[in-house]
């Protein structure tokens, strides 16, 4: 251990008195471990919202207070409050869901969630438009199938991701089991959740309710994900703490460790930037939980608690230096990390359609545009999946690209399931371009409070127009990642896409090029604040150029840099240069 380390600047972290820190720190500290006034707020009868600081605390319980922004102004004129409702995000480590859980979620969505489910970019379910009085029944419904919404949002360890490379059945099984343990380990331990949502009596605990977090939790959210090469579907470089599974002959040995990834930035704030995680070493599989504690505790103790826009782990690393952070992690771990092992990623997207696992079971990866599970017209996705869940004896895997794998299909069920897929109009991936299959959009309007422009509701239309361009240049089958968000926050991970679009104002987006095909490189802004016409003209030119002059096997993101459209970004801090 290096004992001669410099003493870092601690003027903005948890060592300071609350008054010196941001207001959210006081809110957390005064919340009595996330209880606050949530219970009384649920009873407030003159509003559909939870008054006061309730909504911020409810995020730690996986609930976002939102309103229908489409009618916000109309209701203001009608002297009605905004149409408040809640987004409920389920905690589903690794995106693994049993058929029984699926059926319960389907039922809850039909009862409380507007008859639709949203698969997220972090492999879980969101229900939108849930009314305040329906929160308890919904959360209790989840409990019946051993699910909860703990720390699905909030300044804590968010939903833990895990690659869904289901063809490697045994390895996926081991890694996803670790992901689940990691999630259970890293979430808050307060009894607030049980008391508020299950209405259980408060139980006295010896010492403290939060031995790890303390009363102020983390400075910001903290994202953990496990990747299983050669797929980088979880975008491991965008995680605060990424773990890349290293196996030898199908047996898990341990994980390469990457730290400091994060997409989020703030509009017009050049001191904020997306950053990809740095590889710092290797850890054996049995040391994962102590590693998580070590890494999260460094962020807990040194993260910026004055300015929330500067509070993610990536900034702590860039302020204190990667070497210092790594050493601090090792000090807390009580041992050095091993040197990283060899590994290779080839893609961060999903291969849709049928696949066969090493155990002889089948998997069907269903393309779910923007993760939206809904019945519409000839495509009755929600009903079809309900039918399948009733007879399926494997699992449902939610992919980080918002798709769905019906995994571990018994051979005798394959034909039945294929028939159900056809019957409900769900086998559609043949007609979609490779670009569409590699696209993602966040939810955005009308429910997201941060949205500045459309995303989920607009991307399908935009893609149809881009598909005409692709057809003119013979690129329909060329996989290109395209990701759109309605604001600069980056929920659909736009900053390492080959084509990124982030909303600035209604109908206006920033356009980015040059991201790495398997998520290994940030992109760079090419056009700022432009509308659809400019986006399409630009894509027409550059995709045409790409089709004519690309090198064999060259990806579009690599081409955009080689052809000089954008410079290569090798470090987050260069993103805004």
């Amino acid at each position: 251990m290096n004992l001669n380390r410099s003493i870092p600047d601690r003027s903005r972290d948890v060592s300071q008195p609350l008054e010196a820190l941001g207001p959210d720190e006081t809110l957390k500290a005064d919340s009595n471990y996330l209880r606050g006034a949530i219970s009384s707020g649920l009873l407030a009868e003159i509003t559909a919202a939870v008054p006061g600081g309730g909504p911020k605390l409810m995020k730690f319980h996986g609930l976002y207070q939102q309103d229908n922004r489409d009618i916000r102004d109309e209701r203001r004129r009608q002297k009605l409050e905004p149409a408040y409702a809640f987004m409920v995000r389920v905690r589903l480590p690794g995106g693994v869901c049993t058929p029984g859980q699926w059926l319960k979620l389907d039922e809850l969505a039909r009862t409380y969630g507007g008859v639709t489910l949203r698969l997220t970019t972090r492999q879980t379910f969101q229900l939108h438009g849930v009314l305040k009085q329906h929160l308890r029944p919904l959360i209790r419904g989840l409990r019946e199938v051993l699910l909860d919404t703990k720390s699905a949002c909030g300044d804590d360890a968010r939903g833990v991701m895990c690659g869904v490379n289901s063809q490697l059945s045994a390895l996926h099984g081991s890694v996803s089991a670790i992901a689940r343990r990691a999630s259970d380990h890293a979430i808050p331990k307060t009894g607030a959740y049980r008391e508020i949502w299950y209405e259980e009596e408060r139980q006295e605990v010896p010492r403290t309710e939060e031995p790890f977090y303390g009363g102020t939790y983390l400075p910001r959210k903290f994202k953990i994900g496990f990747a299983i090469p050669p797929s980088n579907d979880i975008d491991v470089y965008t995680q605060d703490l990424g773990l890349i599974a290293i196996a030898s002959q199908g047996r898990l040995e341990g994980f390469n460790v990457v730290i400091g990834g994060s997409m989020g930035r703030t509009d017009r704030a050049p001191e904020t930037y997306p950053r990809l995680a740095d590889l710092i070493g290797f850890i054996s599989a049995d040391r994962v939980l102590p590693l998580i504690d070590a890494v999260m505790s460094v962020q807990r103790d040194y993260g910026d608690r004055v300015d929330r826009a500067h509070a993610r782990f990536k900034y702590t690393i860039d302020e204190k230096g990667l070497d210092w952070i790594k050493a601090e992690i090792e000090r807390r771990l009580g041992s050095f990390l091993d040197p990283p092992r060899e590994f290779q990623f080839t893609s961060n997207s999903d291969a849709v359609g049928w696949a066969t696992g090493e155990d002889g079971r089948f998997h069907y990866t269903l393309f779910v545009e923007n993760g939206r599970i809904i019945d519409s017209g000839k495509r009755s996705l929600m009903e079809g999946l309900r039918m399948i869940a009733r007879l399926h004896d494997g699992a449902f895997l939610l992919t980080p690209n918002q798709n769905l794998i019906i995994a571990g299909i018994a051979p005798h069920n394959r034909d039945v399931i294929e028939a159900l897929l056809r019957e409900h109009g769900l086998i559609n991936s043949e007609t979609a371009s490779a670009l569409r299959l590699n696209s993602m959009a966040c939810v955005s309007l009308p429910t997201c409070g941060l949205a500045m422009a459309e995303s989920e509701r607009y991307l399908p239309t935009l893609l149809s127009k881009i598909e005409e361009i692709l057809a003119r240049h013979g690129l329909q089958t060329e996989p290109i990642t395209l990701r759109m968000t309605g604001c600069p926050n980056g929920c659909s991970r736009p900053y390492n896409a080959e084509i990124g679009l982030t909303g600035r104002a209604p109908g206006k987006y920033n356009l980015y090029f040059g991201g790495g095909f398997h998520g290994q490189r940030l992109n760079k802004m090419y056009l700022e604040n432009v509308g659809e016409a400019s986006i399409l003209t630009t894509l027409e030119d550059i995709l045409g150029h790409f089709a004519r002059t690309r090198l064999p096997g060259e990806h579009f993101g690599d081409f955009a840099i080689r052809a000089g459209y954008v410079p290569e970004v090798t470090e987050g801090r260069q993103f805004n240069d």
Binding site: E45, I46, T47, A48, I71, E74, R75, R76, R77, Q78, K79, L80, E81, A83
Partner: protein, 591 residues
């Protein structure tokens, strides 16, 4: 008002200034009262012989018509040398009844044959076992009603019957007046008064001074007969998307009209009929819009008559009888008989005037005979939803718009759709209708307000007024509607009032939200303990809303609160509520 321009030569400057100051401070009702008072003062010393019997005019009034008729009856009485006393049944001391001699009753009827809410204690007393013998007293009853209701003029009938039972002798047969009462009420009253005259008509000396009312230039006073064209300032739906109702907030400008009002008052709206309906009527009957008809002896274009003079939606019993006679259709004739009320009501619900024209066309129907059998288009009253102190020069209304399909076409409530469709910058004919039985108490008195649907309107005015006055009394509001999301009328305003502390508490009931229907009265019961404490602290209770759905339920709930928290038995609780009513601590505005 420019009433006060020319000082009377008979007054000193100081006296004139007092008159000016007084008149400026009065609202219309007060002005009327003062004018009568002065007229009485003037007449008393000059009348020749004192009348042998005293005349008392007692009125029960909910919308102000009764009060108006009583005032004009008093005028007429003074005109023939009588000295009547005019009293509102709302605050008439029951023990005085024994001392009366001649009584002229004027009362309206509401709901299912009920008297005005304010007159209920009097009716209970008179119809109860404690009622005194009234032999030696003489009486006459003028009953006001609406013949589209089944129990037409029922309150007046009850009074007429009961007074006779108690031994009083009838001066004249009861007079039943429909909504177009003005024509026959005046004539009937002069006939009744003629029988009372202690001296021959004209025996009274002419008054020395003109009555105050006479010096007021009539064109500056806007009233029922001379409504003010109020420009529409704002007209928005309060009910959100997906609501099963359409309730609108309408702001009118009365700036420059000189009209004044107090919280609790109503605004009369003189609507025009839906232009499409007028066209349909003309087309169905085959009449020319330019045909001339006579209304009250005045020639009018038929189109104009059907648009703004006559009620052309609902069929009255009179029109039905006319139709039965003219068509010779026995089915219609049978429905006109007594005892056919239910069948008749069912038919009239499904058949408006236009439907009679279409389903039972009359071969020889003339425009004049149709017009003769329609009743005058009546103004509608809406509780004012704003305070003049808070929004000077404006009147806000909360209007539930009635629209429904019938026989495959849209039908509309006359006034509500007229208002709902009134575009900004157009104007609506209005007048102020005083409602002295719905008044805020002193500033430091706590109030409990209970409203359902558009019954919330006067409470918006109350709170605005209390805010402007800086009133220290606590305010508790109960509100009921169907759906929280879409029907929470003025939600953000209540939230702001709660936030500022003006509104002390608010409880809401949304009847279509849960599995069981919850109404405002259920919330009262849930809050029984606190409500009782407020009552003990002297709070005033105000109820505004539907006379069928809300006010009886609230009444029962309040009785329950008194029984449960005050340990009163049923009878005592009811008596307590009655005494709250008579001490004006429990006021009802029902419709």
């Amino acid at each position: 008002m420019n009433v006060l321009e020319a000082p009377s030569s008979d007054l000193t400057h100081e006296q004139w200034e007092l008159v000016v100051a007084l008149v400026r401070s009065l609202n219309q009702a007060q002005l009327l009262w003062v004018s009568e008072y002065l007229a009485g003062r003037v007449q008393t010393p000059v009348s020749g012989t004192a009348p042998s019997r005293r005349l008392t005019i007692l009125f029960g009034s909910e919308t102000g018509n009764g009060a108006e008729i009583a005032a004009s009856a008093a005028d007429s009485a003074r005109g023939i040398g009588l000295h009547p006393t005019v009293r509102d049944l709302a605050d008439y001391k029951l023990r005085l009844l024994m001392e009366e001699e001649d009584l002229l009753f004027i009362t309206s009827t509401h709901g299912e044959g009920d008297p005005p809410h304010t007159a209920e204690p009097f009716f209970e007393f008179l119809e109860g076992r404690k009622a005194p013998q009234l032999s030696g007293k003489r009486f006459a009853v003028v009953a006001l009603g609406d013949s589209t209701y089944e129990k037409f003029c029922e309150a007046g009938r009850r009074l007429d019957r009961r007074l006779e039972e108690l031994g009083a002798s009838r001066l004249a047969a009861r007079v039943d007046c429909d909504v177009d009462y003005e024509k026959n009420a005046a004539a009937a009253i002069s006939q009744i008064l003629a029988k009372l005259g202690p001296c021959s008509p004209g025996a009274g000396e002419p008054p020395l001074l003109p009555r105050l009312e006479a010096v007021v230039p009539s064109r500056t006073i806007f009233d029922k007969r001379h409504p003010f064209p109020a420009p529409v300032v704002d007209n928005v739906a309060l009910t959100g998307r997906g609501s099963s109702k359409e309730t609108r907030h309408i702001e009118l400008s009365i700036a420059g009209s000189g009209m004044t009002f107090e919280p609790g008052d109503a605004l009369g709206v003189a609507p025009a009929n839906n232009p499409h309906l007028v066209e349909s009527l003309l087309a169905s009957a085959g009449f020319s819009p330019d045909a001339g008809v006579l209304i009250d002896g005045q020639p009018v274009r038929l189109h104009e008559a059907l648009t703004s003079k006559l009620e052309i939606v609902r069929v009255t019993r009179r029109l039905l009888r006319f139709w039965a006679d003219q068509s010779g259709i026995s089915e219609l004739g049978a429905l006109c008989e007594e005892g056919q009320a239910e069948l008749r009501a069912a038919l009239l619900k499904e058949n408006h005037v236009i439907d009679l024209l279409r389903r039972f066309p009359l071969r020889d129907l003339s425009a004049q005979s149709l017009v003769d059998n329609l009743r005058p288009l009546q103004p509608r009253l809406y509780s004012i939803a704003s305070s003049a102190a808070f929004a000077p020069g404006e009147v806000h209304l909360t209007v539930a718009v009635v629209r429904y399909p019938l026989h495959g076409e849209p039908r509309h409530g006359v006034a509500s759709a007229f208002l709902a469709d009134a575009a900004p910058e157009t104007s609506v004919p209005v007048f102020v209708q005083s409602n002295p039985h719905f008044r805020l108490p002193a500033n430091d008195v706590p109030i409990v307000m209970i409203g359902a649907g558009t019954g919330i309107a006067p409470f918006r005015a109350f709170l605005q007024e209390r805010e402007m006055r800086g009133a220290s009394g606590k305010n508790w509001l109960f509100f009921g509607e169907r759906h929280f999301r879409t029907d929470f009328l003025y939600q953000t305003e209540w939230q702001a009032h709660l936030h500022s502390g003006l509104l002390t508490r608010m409880n809401v009931a949304f009847s279509r939200e849960g599995t069981t229907k919850t109404y405002a009265q259920h919330r009262l019961l849930e809050q029984a303990r606190d409500l009782y404490a407020w009552l003990q602290d002297g709070c005033h209770i105000y109820v505004c809303g539907d006379a069928v759905g809300l006010t009886p339920g609230v009444h029962a709930a309040l009785r329950c609160v008194l029984q449960q928290e005050g340990g009163l038995d049923l009878h005592a609780a009811e008596e307590h509520l009655t005494s709250l009513r008579s001490s004006r601590r429990y006021q009802i505005d029902a419709y």
